[in-house]
Symmetry: C2
């Protein structure tokens, strides 16, 4: 049996999987459409930095790179919520010490993974090479060099599609939809995003608190900022495409300045390159992709965004993709390279969890945009953090998703939504923290039965 594997896409998920398979002794040929980011400066396809949390760290631990990756991060202990007028307020992500999420550069992490994969001697990454089709009967992959337009083929027992939301491998499945009964959906938000920047201060420091994910919730739009190692922040404005406050509403530079000055006065003071960034960076759309099946004939499977692109509001996109790799690896523990069993088991285990994180991420968009400005919601969050401090066994929905890599996303969603309902009800009937009977609340939220 051939010990060769083809991976389409050398992004985070593809690079991690290539490395793991190499560690298992496979020879892996990776085809990547973009140029090598270690040689050519390329604009990030999507967000420049990402939130790395426990599920993602578990994936890095699997390949022995957890500690190295943690050298590249800036821990964020909670959300710093910036009201329009008044003082920012900090909400810890957890009532337990040490539970945080980590801001990390997409490019930096990707390079770490590619370097480690190539260092095994068993992974060859072919850049600027487009996958044009996959034959799921024969295992042939049809490729085209983007440098000289020559076409060629490759072939392997197993072909993994880690080629992102616009996956070519998935398109090859779509092309034989009726035969596969390939269910597929793509759904866009009416809100888009634009990346901006808060650079380091003149003496090279962070301009705002570094160990937090900053949020400026507003009515119908919001802005967030994540810290970078160079002491800048990547700022992202999320806003509807159309309507009163929308990307289509900016007619000139003055409109941009007026808007930021009025809506985000504290951030505006730290954004000297606002209009340049605003014009230079694209306005991008946000969507959720779901599909089924993920595997065909035991020949090929989708992983990461190719199988389940999610909106970024739970900070779980990369973490979910890394969890795909961990689960596929476990399936190989069970079934070796009986690929039909491996890939069938993999998709069965992952699909409900991918659906759950997709739905949670959409929910969190509304929570971040609207609820973080709502006093009842904020009281509920305070009650919940106090619960986490008093009762180490209590985990909020956010904590289950983010810090409990031993729990499925689907379980975290069901239990978390149930808890949220109870706590929001309780908070709406309670004036402030002094009136909370924590023993009683803890009993209420402990009654969950799967």
């Amino acid at each position: 049996m051939s010990k060769d594997i083809i991976i389409i896409g050398a992004g985070l998920c593809g690079s991690l999987m290539a490395l793991r398979l190499a560690q298992r002794g496979y020879h892996v040929r990776v085809y990547e459409k973009r140029p090598d980011m270690r040689k050519v400066s390329i604009s990030a396809g999507r967000s420049i930095n990402l939130a790395l949390s426990d599920r993602g760290l578990r994936g890095l631990e699997m390949v022995g790179l957890k500690e190295e990756a943690l050298q590249l991060v800036i821990p964020m202990m909670g959300r710093m919520v910036h009201p329009k007028n008044g003082d920012a307020q900090f909400f810890s992500y957890s009532g337990r010490k040490g539970e945080c999420i980590n801001s990390i550069s997409r490019g930096g992490l990707n390079i770490l993974l590619m370097d480690a994969a190539e260092a095994t001697g068993r992974v060859k990454i072919h850049f600027e090479t487009d996958c044009t089709d996959v034959n799921f009967e024969t295992g042939e992959v049809f490729l085209q060099s983007l440098k000289d337009r020559t076409t060629f083929q490759d072939k392997a027992e197993c072909i993994l599609g880690t080629d992102g939301a616009g996956s070519a491998v998935r398109k090859s499945m779509m092309a034989i939809s009726a035969a596969l009964r390939f269910n597929f959906s793509q759904k866009y938000l009416d809100t888009g995003y634009k990346e901006l920047c808060i650079p380091p201060s003149e003496n090279g420091d962070f301009r705002i608190a570094s160990n937090a994910l900053h949020i400026w919730p507003r009515d119908g739009f919001m802005m967030i900022a994540l810290p970078n190692l160079d002491r800048s922040f990547t700022v992202t404005l999320f806003m509807p495409f159309e309507g009163k406050y929308s990307f289509s509403g900016f007619r000139n530079e003055q409109d941009i300045h007026t808007f930021f000055e009025n809506e985000f006065p504290d951030a505006y003071a730290h954004m000297p390159d606002l209009t340049e960034d605003f014009h230079a960076n694209p306005t991008s759309s946000l969507g959720t992709i779901k599909c089924w099946p993920w595997q065909v004939n035991g020949r090929s499977a989708l992983m990461g965004d190719a199988a389940h692109a999610v909106v970024p509001f739970y900070g779980q996109g990369m973490n979910a993709s890394f969890e795909d790799c961990v689960v596929l690896d476990q399936c190989m523990d069970s079934y070796g390279d009986d690929w039909l069993r491996v890939l069938t088991q993999y998709q069965k285990l992952r699909k409900p969890n991918a659906d759950a994180i997709a739905d949670l991420a959409e929910d969190n968009f509304y929570e971040m945009r609207d609820a973080t400005a709502n006093p009842v919601f904020n009281l509920k969050r305070k009650i919940e953090l106090e619960l986490e401090q008093r009762y180490p066994d209590y985990y909020s929905k956010y904590s289950m998703v983010t810090f409990r890599e031993d729990l499925d996303y689907a379980y975290a969603m069901h239990r978390g939504r149930w808890q949220d309902q109870i706590l929001m009800d309780y908070a709406s009937k309670t004036g402030d923290m002094t009136q909370v009977d924590f023993e009683a609340v803890f009993r209420l939220v402990s009654e969950f039965e799967k």
Copy 2:
């Protein structure tokens, strides 16, 4: 302003729309992938005969072809339900006289429409011509002759995509998904279908009752039959692809005979060509397609299956497509050829109704397969038919969808589901028809408020 229009697809919807636009004075160029069915015998892409009901007839009336079309039909007054052992039972579609649905040949109706369209002198249908792409900025359509592979372009103010479930126009929208924020879903049933035949008897008569849609409901699968003008019936077996009773379960000819003899003994006796048909005809899949938006830049819009492919279980696919044409025509009454306003209004009016009939059609699959064998359901249907006879203002869900072309599908769905719930509750608590208090039931079902 140009008075030219391009239509992609000369099926039922495209031919009707081409005819209507010609009647309005437009010159229409239609591009159709398949050969001309009037010259070449081609296997029907999908079902051979269809149920034409009031919404479809309204479309034909719009172009003055209602009476001609009615010459081609065989009226079906209700469902003839065939139990496994025992006598078939007839359930009228309506308690009102004259309300029926009509079995019509897909090919016969399509030819009627194409002939009438060409007879206007303003419609030119180009067969065996594939649409490869649409530029929604410029209105250019990229085409390829399937006869000699030559490629060419055409251009018009307005391009209508009536090219069915696998629409090329929709694929061109998909290709610019992010820019359009093009929402799309395709969802397959686990059940597929195969067309079979009950030929005329040796003396040229119908072998089973001609004025009914025959149903053989079974546990997990079913068969139906619709009459044809030549006194044959087109029979369709709906069955899961996998599992105990499934298309994958037939290993040889004996399996086929045994299955039909056991499950459909009364039909089996009339199917002399069973195994030939079974091998010759494909096993096809069934799916629902939804998308949004349907129009781009006031340049192009999707109609019929291209916009909203539905499963066939409500017999409304063609009827819904013809209703699209009627609504587009009404929008042109309002806005002339201000295409942006016409197409925007058209999609706004049609989308909720297309979603409704898609959902109703899926529901009806389960009703036909499972519920028609359920005594409570059959009592409920009898109560409902009696209600329709006693109270001319009462319309069942089926009647609203099928006979009330003045009501939206969305309204019919909401009100119909509400009525069904009440009547199923009532039937489950009532032993038989003698115990029904019709005055009381009528009051219950009259309380619906939109």
